[in-house]
Every structure is written in C-alpha cells, then in structure tokens.
Symmetry: C2
Subunit: 558 residues, 2 copies
C-alpha cells in the first residue's frame, strides 16, 4: 500500500469476485447480464420481470463540505457493507464519477480506504462508456441544430436564442463562452455559444430520470433546443432526430453492476452533479436495487440543500420513491471549518471550533426532518481526528436529540459502519411520523417554489431575480412551464449561494440570475450566485501526478 | 430482411458465435481476452507471448470512389471469408467506423450484405469506446494547454501559435472556426481556435502507430502543442501530463476482436480517415493478426493515392510491415462516373462510359506497382450492374495484363470472393520482382517527398505552396522536422486535389496550403486543395432516419 495513494493501492490489491457471481448473488439472471470485462457489467433490465415487492431505501447526504469532501460515497459504501455483514440482502446505488474533476482536483470518486466500489480504476476512467455516450448524443444534437441553421433554417430558429449547449467531460473554462460558426458562409452561422460539463447536460438528467427506452425517447422529443424569431419553443421532435439521439443512448440507459470491497453488489449509474444539476444516480438503478434487495443504500451529491433536496423533491416525486431512512455525514474537519478554522489548520485539535461548526450540521438534520425523515448523523472518522473531538461531536448530537454514531468504514470497511447501521434500523423501526413528503408543490409556480427552498432549506430571507431571470420567468409563464419543479444550481460550500458564508447563515438573499427550462428532464434549472455549469482546472491539476505502468496499472488516482 | 436496409437486417438476423469461441479459433488465450458483452472483446496483447513467425499480408485499396463508396470494407471482409472457406487460417484487420459520418451520410461502415463484421450495430455506434477515449484524451490535453495560459503561462506559450485543437466525433461545421476564452479574466485567454473530427486527432494517429504503452507515452510526450513567443516548440512533456493522457488511452490501445458473418476472426481497431489522416487500422491489430494467422486481409481508406500510399509509406515503413499482395476494388458505377456519367444515371447500362472510366482504375493499379506490389482488380458487383458491363471491364483488365476477377461477396459472402482469392494466391506465388518498397525517402525533405507523390501518384506536374505553407515549411526546417514522412490530406474523389477532376487527370498542380507537424505521430500533415479536417452534415442527415425499437434494436443504420 502506497502511503501517498492508499485508496488506489487498496483497490488494486483486492481480489474481485467474477461479475457473474456478483450478479447471481444479487438475483440478476445470467441472460440479463452484459459483461464488460470480468468485473463489471451492464444489466439489461428489459430481460427481467417486473418486481412485485421492494425493499427499504436509505438516502445518504452530508453537511456542507470542505473542498476535500466529507466521505459521503465512502460512508454510503461502508454502510451497505455493514448491512451485508448483518446478513441483510443489500445493494448500493451510486453515481458514476466524471472525468473532468478527476483530472482537476478530485482524483477519483468511488469511496475510499476499505469502503470502495471496485474496479476503482475502470469506474473512475471510462467505465462502461455512459458519459461518453451522453456527450456524443448531446453534441450530435448540437451539430444538428447548427446544421439546421446552415441548411436554410426552415423552422426559423433564432440563433441568438438557442439554449442547447455542447458538453465535454473536461473542466475546460476556455469553452464557457465562445463564438462558433466563424470563417465565412460555408462554415456555419456565427453565434455566441458555450460548453457545459457533461454532468450538467439535460441528456444526463433525462437518462437518470427515464423509466425505459420509450420514456427516454419521449423526453428527448420534448427537449427545447431554443426559440424561433417569434419566441416559440423549438423541440427535438420538430428537428426529427429524437430517434437517432435515443439510439446513441440505448446501452447507456442500462444500469452498471460492480461490487464493493465488502462484496455488496453495487449499481453505479448516471452522474449529474448536485451543485449544477439534480445530483442523483439513475432512477433505473435505484428501482433495480430496490427490486432485488431488502436494503438499498444510495447517495445524492453534497448536502441536504443540494442532492438530498433534489432527490426528494425531483427524483422521488417523479419516480414514486419513498425513502425510509437518511444519513447526514459529518466530519470533525468540516465542523472545524464551519467553526472558523482556516483550511490549513484543520488537522490541529480544536474541540471548541468543532462544536461551533455544529450549527451547519444541525441545519442539515433539520432540513431532512422537513421532508419527514429522521436522519442519523454519521461522524466519519479521519486519521487526524482526536478522540476528544469525536466524543464532543457525538455528545453534542445526542444532547440535541439527534441519532448519531461514529463511522470508521474508511479504516475498517463494513465493520466500521455497524454502529451507524444499528442506529438506522432503530430509527426506521420507531415512530416515523407521517413519513416522507416533498417540501413544495410545484403547482404554486417557480417563484413560490424558490421562495420555499430559500427560506426553509437555505435559511435565506427572500429571493432576488436578477440578470436574465426576470425575463426568463416571463418566458416560462408564457409557455406554461411555471409549474415544473425547480433544480437549483448553487455552491456546495454554503447553505446560501455565497461560498464564503459558512456555518448556518441567516438573513441572506438567494440571488437567481438565470432560469433554464429543461422540458425533457421535466424541471427548470435556477442558476444562483456565481455557480457555473463548466468548472475550471486548478493551477496544479491532478493530471500532472497521473500515469500508467507498462503493465497498464494506473498511477495517481485517489 | 428489410428492402430499405438489408445490411442491418442481415446483421441482426445472424447468429453470432460467442466471442470466447472466436478467440479460441484465432489462438488468443482466454486470459488475454477482455469480453465486452458476449460478441466483442478487447485483446490484452500484454498477456500474450511474442510471436516467432507471421503470415501473409494483403492490402485492399480501391479506385477513386463515388460518394456512396465502392465496397472496399465489404470486399475486404468477403475476401477474408473466402480464404477461410479455402481452409486458410485467416484474420481480417479493419478500421473502426466514426460516428460523425454515420449520422451524416454513410449510415454505417462495417461492410455490407453477406460480407460484414458483426455485431454491426455495436461496431457502428460506441463499440468498445476507443474513439471516445481518444476524444477525451485529446480534449483533456487541450484544456490543460488553455489552463496553462490562464494560470500564468510559465512556458511562455504564444496563444496565437497553439496548434493543438479540440476534437469531437461529430460532423460539426460550426466548430471549424471559433473563438474561445471569451467572457472576462476568469474565463480563460481569448484566442482563435477550432475543432477537428476525432479521426483527424494526432492521438488517433499515435494510437494507431504505437507499439506498446511505453511507446504510446513516449509519442504523446513528443507531441508539439504549439510554440512560445520565441517560436520554440512546446511539447506535452513540458506540460508534464503525458502520463495522464496515456492513462486515458490504456484500454483503447488494446485491439478489438469481433467476427465476420463468415466466421473469420476480425480485429477492428483504430480509425483515422484516409483523406484527412493516415487512414489505416492500428499497427497493434495488424501485428496481432499477422502473428495469429496464415493470411491477414486489411484495408486502408479510399484509393492508392490516399490510404494505400500512407499504409505503404508511413505505417509499413514505421512498423516493419511488408505487404505480400494487394487488391484494387473497382465498380461499374465508379467507372461510369469517371467515364463522364452523371451520378443520377449510374444505374443505366453504359458499357462505353464504363470503359472510358478505366483510366482511373489503371492509374491505381500502376500506382501500387510503383511500390513493388502486383494488385488484383476486384470488380465488386452491384445489383444495377449488367453482365455486359462486368464482362467488358474484366476483358479490358485482362487486355492490360492486369490480374482481375469478379467479386460477389455482398450477395454471396465468402463464396463470392473465391475468384479474387485465387487470383491473389496466383499473384503472390509468381515472380514478385523485388517485392515491397516505399515510394520515397523522407530524408530528401518534405518538398521533395511531396513532389514525388504529386508526380508519381497524383499525376500532377508540380507542387504549389500557398497560404501558410511557405512559412510552415521554413518552420519545419528550422526545427529539424523536414525529414519526416508526409501525410497528405486530399480529396478522395479525384487523384488530384480537385474533386471535380475525374478519370486520370494530368497536367495539374498539387496545391499545398498548410503543413502541420505531428511529431508524436512522426509525420507532417500537408493540407491540400479545399480538404477540411472537420466535415459538415448534409441537408437531410442520416440521423433523421434513425431510431431504436423498445427492445433496443437500432433502426436506420445501413
């Protein structure tokens, strides 16, 4: 095991069960399995019968994170392995990592230590090609739109009002704002444009929300690519290419099966980011897991203000899901940061600051209670944490009447998640009130939905509509799209839209600067604060530390 | 079988052997096989021993084509199946299709009728993800270059002299000429830029010429991404990211195994276009096929003036290959077109025009003879051909002293290729003169190499250097790159650089308008005439006729 890179070393040292055996354990019939190598596969759900029952669903969320992350995927995987250890038929459902951030800062996104999904290298790199398929489907549509302009523009599309952007799975800030179609009459129609990262593509959202191929095609048909000179929406249906775009996605729609280091079957499928998109793995994967297991553990990106809120208000509502339990991952490091400690000092013991930072954690617990869930706080142990810090946080949680337990899955795998698993079972067996309910009714209109989110979840006083948002709001109403759920793009570092407001901010305003209708996905994206749908690379990208041995083993993923 | 779409219907109706069984037939050990589903696999050549012998190599080329193509892949596959029928241990090595043109005009590129590689749908769509890996490797490098500019530009890269372009596997003319980095100081450095199609990426060329992972990384390290303000070349090595880019390509470097409808094991790997790149499948696949078979049949894109010339002058020289036999595919349709018949009238019998068009075919035969090869003319039968036309062409060929035979592989599979196979065996058993030799010695300099190609292969009087070419020529000399082989980007429709000059043009000039050093690939690309490295879509793209059934079967690939 390399001291620099323990996650990769642990993953590379693991002996994986053949994926055919993992599938058998999970109850997936052999003829529905499409192997990709010996340790990953796609599951052709079309070849499986419709399930009559489904198991318990547990959603893992987190407090507002440090830039290094709080180990939410790690906790999700370790918790699933804990349930497996307890003899429960368990599956874990996760998002696929995006390559862009891996090359930038993250280095990998498959859990860590002894709580990982494997094969770690493949999942972090190209995996089964889903993101690549989404990218080319998205960009083929973009080329068809620009080609329509070039070939006479029969539909009368206004080049200034095209909202369909191209995407790459690369953090490429130079593509945020560009001009295309230069070079003369044979080179296209010049217009302002820009690329998003692939995880922000509406195709990604659609793939993650579609129930089958027919629904996928219907959603793609409804996608609005832009508007005519008369401001009428133009759909993919009108371009006549929904079939081709769906064909490019027919394999990507099938969930991917892998395994955890603890032997739990894992479905890793779809991966919208939670700060710029809806933040959940595919509905297809969640439904498959629920149909096969007693307990499904899943995660949604970042905190209760982002992935969890969207899991509950968008994915669960649309997919008829009803989560039974929830986890909020907390770390002493993040608590200290929210308590005012500088990032460079997070490794130094500081009980008071950790306790000061609990205001952020408490807000996330309260947020989830507003959805009718009683979450368990999982304190994810880091090597730099001291016993005094960990104990103080657990004591504080118990004093607040929160369920809480220490999670040591990074070091111990499933064994380290048993305490959290027990708390969850206790929480789910007790009185659960009315159970899960979404926070808002989209029928009240987008302004009202945003106001509810701002006040109830972000702790804001009100919403401000600026820049393009007021005009877009009028456009949404004109087209009858004002009753769609809202998918807020917002920084993950604060409950507010300002990444510098740590802890549990109040009295602030939610600044909505744009509203983008994603009619195929079935929601409206609200861009808030300074969040952008295309990240950049840092000064020293993780890519500079990566490589491959002559035998084909990766170096520098972590 | 659908009358509209017989190729897809034939492919979908075929019963495929499990890929494990195909591998066993081919002599590939089980532990070197990485299955992708049940009917395709990658071959981990690192797990195979170095071969001591190798078989016979046959190169399939063609006359200058009509826009619909002359059935070169079809002939290649059918010929391989003919050798299999004759009891020869045979493999076929082909390029992977690119998605961009499939969505535009082509519809598919895996042969046709009863001479196809299968699974046809998968190979034409995402296959094993090689092109996607190349795309993201290429674009990750581009983002790292722009990020270097943004983060202080320590290497002093001149933003006006960056030659590394982004790529997509989409025919997207609006991306040919763009401006990136707009929007202010935090959004990158504004500069003129453009996208190429993925098959023109230097990464594609490198992947197809690399002998192993170490060579792949060494080549990527040598890639010149642009120049400093002092006009010194800047390499990937200096950016420190060759390891990361290589890691993204570690699986893509492994050849893909599939099968033909006739049961011949097929390696389909890599796919640079022959009009804008070097036009041959990977060296890794060709070497693997040669090591496993008595006879390897391979193709290079378009005619003797494009793919075949590059196969012989670039790939064979670099890889130490020595082709034993060659085929020139001809069709009555193409002969009539070169004889002056309008494209709309090609289905009408016209023996005289077909004979008038033989001037083009004769030039391709003579071109291959200049490399020491004695090609067989394969007259690929189309349903609209008449017996009189076919017989006239065969008679003409025999009168010229050319070896020639009718090929009926589209309708009859391997049986329809036996006559061509027999001619080839006869040609290779006879006196072959000195055998294969490249046409030019790159040590003479790029101007001289281009002059030799222009006169000997294209029938031109001389070369004209215009636009950027004279300055680029000085730059090449200044940097010591003047002795590299040249890879000419040129229209496929004419032996000249003018697509309207049909037949066997003489007295024309080769117009070189740009020279681009591809130091990682090891050659200099010469852009001639009006050829562009990013195609466009037609007014009615093939995409508008495509779709997918609810069971996941493709519609409209052909």
């Amino acid at each position: 095991m390399s001291a620099e890179n323990p996650d990769l070393a642990i993953a590379q040292a693991a002996t994986l069960r053949p994926i055919t055996e993992v599938a058998e354990t999970a109850g997936i019939p052999a003829d529905a399995l499409v192997p990709y190598g010996t340790d990953k596969a796609k599951v052709d759900v079309r070849k499986m019968s419709t399930p009559s029952t489904h198991g318990t669903l547990i959603l893992v969320s987190a407090m507002s994170p440090t830039p290094a992350g709080e180990g939410k995927s790690t906790t999700t995987v370790g918790l699933a392995d804990a349930f497996t250890l307890k003899g429960k038929r368990t599956m874990v459902a996760l998002r696929e990592p995006a390559l862009g951030p891996i090359m930038g800062i993250k280095g990998g996104a498959t859990g860590g230590g002894y709580a990982q999904v494997v094969p770690m290298e493949d999942i972090n790199l190209h995996f089964t090609g889903d993101f690549h398929a989404i990218q080319i489907a998205n960009n083929t549509l973009a080329a068809l739109v620009d080609n329509h302009l070039q070939q006479g523009n029969q539909l009368g599309i206004d080049p200034r009002r095209i909202q369909w952007k191209r995407v790459v799975d690369v953090n490429d800030r130079a593509l945020r704002s560009i001009v295309v179609g230069l070079g003369g009459a044979s080179q296209g129609v010049p217009r302002e444009d820009g690329f998003d990262i692939v995880v922000a593509s509406e195709i990604m959202a659609i793939l993650c929300l579609a129930s089958d191929l027919a629904d996928l095609e219907a959603r793609i048909s409804r996608v609005v690519i832009g508007f005519t000179y008369d401001r009428a929406p133009v759909t993919v249906q009108e371009l006549g290419v929904a079939g081709a775009i769906t064909m490019l996605l027919k394999d990507a729609l099938l969930p991917n099966l892998v395994q955890t280091l603890g032997g739990t079957p894992a479905l890793v499928h779809g991966g919208p980011f939670a700060n710029i998109a809806h933040g959940c793995n595919s509905l297809a994967a969640t439904r498959l897991a629920l149909s096969l297991s007693e307990i499904t553990v899943t995660e949604a990106g970042f905190g209760s203000d982002l992935g969890a809120e969207k899991f509950l208000d968008i994915k669960s509502r649309l997919g008829g899901l009803s989560p039974d339990g929830a986890v909020v991952v907390a770390t002493v490091r993040a608590l200290k940061m929210h308590g005012g400690v500088a990032k460079s000092d997070l490794a130094t013991e500081d009980v008071d600051s950790a306790l000061a930072g609990t205001a952020n954690l408490a807000r996330h617990v309260e947020n989830l209670r507003k959805f009718g869930l009683e979450p368990v706080v999982a304190v994810n142990r880091f090597p730099t944490d001291t016993e005094a810090e960990l104990q103080a946080v657990l004591d504080w949680a118990h004093e607040q009447g929160f369920r809480a337990a220490l999670s040591e899955v990074w070091a111990k795998g499933g064994e380290g998640g048993l305490a959290v698993a027990d708390e969850l079972l206790a929480a789910m067996s007790g009185d659960r009130g009315g159970g899960f309910r979404p926070l808002y009714d989209p029928a009240g209109g987008i302004e009202e939905s945003l106001r509810t989110l701002a006040r109830e979840i972000y702790g804001a006083d009100d919403v401000v509509f600026a820049d393009r948002a007021p005009a877009q709001l009028r456009m949404l109403k004109r087209n009858g799209w004002d009753d769609l759920p809202v998918c807020v793009a917002k920084t993950q570092y604060s409950l507010s839209d300002d990444p510098t407001l740590l802890g549990a901010p109040t009295g602030h305003l939610l600044h909505v600067r744009d509203l983008v209708p994603k009619i195929g996905a079935g929601f409206v994206v609200a861009l808030t604060g300074a969040i952008m749908a295309m990240p950049g690379l840092p000064k020293e990208p993780a890519a500079t530390r990566m490589g491959v041995t002559d035998d084909g083993e990766s170096i520098g993923l972590f």
